[in-house]
Subunit: 252 residues, 4 copies
Amino acid sequence: MAGPCSAESEAQVMATAAAVKRGGAKVLRGGAFKPRSSPYSFQGLGEPGLRLLRDAADQHGLQLVSEVMDISQIDVMARYADIFQVGARNMQNFTLLRELGRTRTPVLLKRGISATIEEWLLSAEYVLAGGNTEVILCERGIRTFESYTRNTLDISAIPVVKKLSHLPVFVDPSHGTGRRDKVAPMARAAVAAGADGLLIEVHCDPDHALSDGAQSLLPSQFDRLMAELRIIAPAIGRSICLETVARRGWGV
Amino acid sequence: MAGPCSAESEAQVMATAAAVKRGGAKVLRGGAFKPRSSPYSFQGLGEPGLRLLRDAADQHGLQLVSEVMDISQIDVMARYADIFQVGARNMQNFTLLRELGRTRTPVLLKRGISATIEEWLLSAEYVLAGGNTEVILCERGIRTFESYTRNTLDISAIPVVKKLSHLPVFVDPSHGTGRRDKVAPMARAAVAAGADGLLIEVHCDPDHALSDGAQSLLPSQFDRLMAELRIIAPAIGRSICLETVARRGWGV
Amino acid sequence: MAGPCSAESEAQVMATAAAVKRGGAKVLRGGAFKPRSSPYSFQGLGEPGLRLLRDAADQHGLQLVSEVMDISQIDVMARYADIFQVGARNMQNFTLLRELGRTRTPVLLKRGISATIEEWLLSAEYVLAGGNTEVILCERGIRTFESYTRNTLDISAIPVVKKLSHLPVFVDPSHGTGRRDKVAPMARAAVAAGADGLLIEVHCDPDHALSDGAQSLLPSQFDRLMAELRIIAPAIGRSICLETVARRGWGV
Amino acid sequence: MAGPCSAESEAQVMATAAAVKRGGAKVLRGGAFKPRSSPYSFQGLGEPGLRLLRDAADQHGLQLVSEVMDISQIDVMARYADIFQVGARNMQNFTLLRELGRTRTPVLLKRGISATIEEWLLSAEYVLAGGNTEVILCERGIRTFESYTRNTLDISAIPVVKKLSHLPVFVDPSHGTGRRDKVAPMARAAVAAGADGLLIEVHCDPDHALSDGAQSLLPSQFDRLMAELRIIAPAIGRSICLETVARRGWGV
């Protein structure tokens, strides 16, 4: 899964979708409703952004994952996205989780910034208990005292979850580190530790991104990373975009 | 502000309201919609619970604060509560905050379990930007490595916020510690550090509480604590239930 | 216990000692061997600094507490100090603790910056097991994600330790917050929560201090704080410098 | 680098040394002086333990790394070990670091359990400033709120340090996770993220180990892990035990 943090314009979305498709991604990621700490930051394009993302996904044969922040957005999101993303800040928005449990659309559930693994799995239960069995867990970094990286990506959560749950575990090294040059090493580490998939921010012009440009890969960096991952995957008996893909259409 | 974690029955709500009134509380606290980590835990009584709380508050001349978890609950909550509580897990539920900014009901905004003070103040901006100026901040403990207490109550957040913002700062020593015998020392510490008010769980029969019994004070413990606070408040040039009360109806 | 972070000159030590005595302190604190994160920062005056501190303490009828960083410093420190301080970085320097257990000089054991309460009490056991029963625990802040304060002073550690151990608990609000204007609120909070004593940095000219000036109180601020503490102490059935003092010569 | 947590007996040391040699390790690790949180836990065999380790290393053509806890142990340690290990608890024992800076023996400096990367590099400066340029940094997990693993291994520290410093970075997945079944995934992640070497606990009979048995690999698990690492290393342009080994005698 790869793509821009936010949909910003048609040109940006199209160029990025083409690039991630070429690199080997199966799913396009991109936000239309952006949860931002400050009410004065860019808040996303809303439904027009979703339309841009959907068009780009269709044109390149990609699926689309995008974040839903509130139950009031479920209907509109359902018209465009193949997978609902629940952000870290909403990991314990139980009203939202319960409602998503009533749909049959896959849910990518990000781990809260200070959620224990137990709380994360219990939040997944809110969706599963409603009958929606398509839940993907996504580790995206926890808050610690270290400030060189935006968060501390908890790679050890991968083997822990693999032992406690049958659910697939993805990793988001872009938000997890907040720095472009740390994305590739952490993506490699995630795959080596057994992650089932990755969620990576790619932007065709990251220096002019309206959000999170500093952590977005350039398309050429994304290509190089995918090549490295194809070497690592066999070490744990997997091949990139094969096994899981057959079942779900994305992942390692 | 004092009262049970959740409304459970008429007898429990009435007995507790009478006790906290006698101890000197100005506001009754109590939950009807309970956000619980697990979908299989007690989830609150819903609207019937709100009705019990409202009756008890009226009978004892108390105001009522109760938690609203989602925009879909705002209307029903507005019919019963004088103050909307936003829980720690919803501190960055921006859709909810924005909607509460359109009301003119005071909002008690709890700090997220791993929110920085800056993020907390920015979340308050979501409410303030909508024109609702009645925001009360409430420190309720942050997540650290220490496990003797459920969370680490960040008492130093009080003087930090007093310097950065004009908003009143309350403290919830019940959730902040998770242990009954730590509530009184931390409540005293909060007042000594300059807190504008306290949110304390009191239960007439904590050993049979459906949630958070282990951290609820007995009515007699609440009385003793209020007596101690009346000694401490003058050290910082305040008197319990006077100055702030004149302005808002609660607090130190 | 009050005094400068480091001994810097005769004039500075004498002026500060006079000021803290006037404010009501029983023990002079001051470092001669300074543990600094960087090898290129001011490292303390060494034995000449200790001599200055001892003279100032004697002249004002104060006891002296100073930090010992290594077993090689115990002998020289024993000639000057009444109480050995073990810094947070050395809380698990077991060789040092074992050696101090063989002396009969009181040991002020600071909590490590990320030590659990259990580890802290086990470190005290290293001293106690050697037969030295005079151990004072000192909370000085733990490391969390919050960065407005240098550390997060864990006030709740006070009631926790009071329940688990017979040892007295002191608090160092100067290192715990790292900011002068937060020292008084946190000192008041510590006493209100039941602390047995305080360790406060006071400097007659903090803007020119060679270390930690930003967190040192001016003498006039120290006087005002002591007056506030005399109001708070009775709320928990104590009086400043009376009860504990009779037994040990310092504290609340 | 691999071997037991502590030297316990001749049979245990010999069997383990043979096993790690067979698996491809270049350096034997093993403690003779053990820093333990409690004074009542096994404290290590002391000099006789060092002698056992030295003999086993010689017999199998391995180097020996062992922990030195205090300046008083440097001389005896120098007679047996090829590399001095400084443990996490001693990362800011500046007296020890300064003294090791006067030797010309390589120093493996573990990161403190809550040390920032900046503090870790500054501690290395204490050794480097003395003229000893052979410092190896070793990440071993930081303390966070998550409790499924003993610590949270900070894999992102690897690319951060590679950018800030010329020093080699090793990783200790055994202490970093505290659980045997998490060691292999995290070792693979470390190599994939660019680590220069690994420090792994291997024990021929971990269920009867006197310390840290629960996190020690069985020899057969160690062999399998080494095979996996040989697949991953080329993804980042390296081969196991070649490049770095030529220069220093160990590592990736």
